[in-house]
Symmetry: C2
């Protein structure tokens, strides 16, 4: 479940500030923590609240049960010594399990994140937004599209490292998912874009699971978070989350849920 | 001047924490503010200090004179509503003039930043790190390398917008700079990588200026910041900054300095 805490969308009765954001996140997590495999805080929304917002993020991280995966959606990527600092911020200070990264600057911008055992760093591959086509769908001279080349290259970066490499594949890109899965049969895919962005949950689960039938983390944000604009927002979020879990169940072996 | 505040490199006598980082930045800015055209805080180092670090960044922004350019080196890029939140964080809350962005997600990830008049959003084009070659130097089917395609595409994104688009071109990439300048004759280039990373200042200034003889912002970070490990660090930074200004002078018209 994505935590994209947009002040303008906070339910009635909550203050449109850091305090309101904190109360909202706490109630949402409390209402859904037995249903969510992972929470994915979206850094932008916390950063847009200034230094206070980062304080909220630290508290929100504390509300998430220790057995639940925390994916920091940050899409970072920089030269080596800078990526080291980002990796420390997310994996050490915030004790996250996962972070999203941009591949544009190549291997040495990702490597520092792979020094943290037990983590999975998700590299952007094929994103859910319309402009993903601008570069990701460009064809290279070797005949492959850029996102395919990113997928194969990034998976190789992860070999023999302490941390794992995963890929971000937008749920709106189901026509490419089958082929992408064949290129990276065992890699974990983080799939945002179901719900408000229009991704098709059934198609994602049919095409996107790994060889062992798992290997996929489907993210939903706005559809659950803002299921009700009223004071029943937490119960409404839970209902929506339950509905999604029920829709996903048939695609996974019984004992996994 | 880049503000890459690495606690491990703080001069003797400063505490290796947020307080030390704040004192360091204040002293560096105070010692160099008549020499620097712009300061470029590197977000990773502030984020690695947690919520406190963002508080330090807000204060550091306040130390920078209002007539000096502030470039937030953040390398962000996300779907539209998320990029809107980042744009608010940097351009509205922190009152910055400029931010660095990653192009991988395409136009709609950059557009929200271009809504702010008087700003320049620098899109990563050809970066200074060794792994820049992984994707940026891949050749597309149209015969162009990816970074060239990014340059031309990103420059077009800026046409008719309130905010300007610039390009990040690493100082270690001087062999590509001439051609890149011909592709984007009037675009501002942000050129990091002089100094510790090995970029050649003279080559950068010979090849990188725009048609009007300006259009280039050369960044130096570690070479100036950590010019002395002792209590004379601020004076040493000033000496190093002065040396760089003197080296750059011959490349610009007299009245501009």
């Amino acid at each position: 479940m994505g935590l994209d805490v947009d002040l303008a969308k906070l339910p009635a009765g909550l203050s449109k500030d850091s305090e309101g954001a904190l109360v909202f996140c706490q109630a949402i997590i409390e209402a859904t923590k037995d249903l969510a495999v992972a929470y994915k805080p979206n850094l932008a929304f916390f950063e847009s609240l200034g230094a206070e917002g980062l304080g909220v993020l630290e508290k929100v991280r504390g509300f998430i049960p220790s057995e639940t995966i925390v994916v920091m959606d940050a899409k970072r990527g920089d030269i080596g010594n800078t990526s080291q600092a980002y990796a420390k911020a997310f994996y050490q200070n915030l004790n996250s399990d996962s972070v999203t990264l941009s591949p544009y600057m190549g291997k040495d911008s990702i490597d520092p994140f792979l020094e943290y055992p037990g983590t999975c760093s998700f590299v952007l591959c094929l994103t859910s937004n319309p402009s993903a086509a601008d570069f990701q769908l460009q064809t290279l001279q070797n005949g492959q599209k850029l996102y395919m080349w990113v997928a194969q290259t990034a998976v190789n970066w992860g070999r023999g490292k302490k941390g794992e490499v995963g890929l971000v594949v937008g749920a709106t890109q189901t026509q490419y998912l089958h082929h992408l899965r064949s290129l990276a049969p065992d890699t974990v895919f983080l799939v945002p874009g179901v719900g408000t962005q229009g991704g098709d949950l059934q198609a994602v689960l049919s095409e996107g699971r790994s060889q062992n039938g798992y290997g996929i983390l489907v993210n939903v944000s706005r559809q659950v978070l803002y299921a009700s604009p009223g004071p029943d927002y937490a119960q409404a979020a839970r209902r929506e989350a339950q509905r999604l879990v029920d829709a996903m169940k048939p695609y996974f072996k019984k004992e996994s849920l």
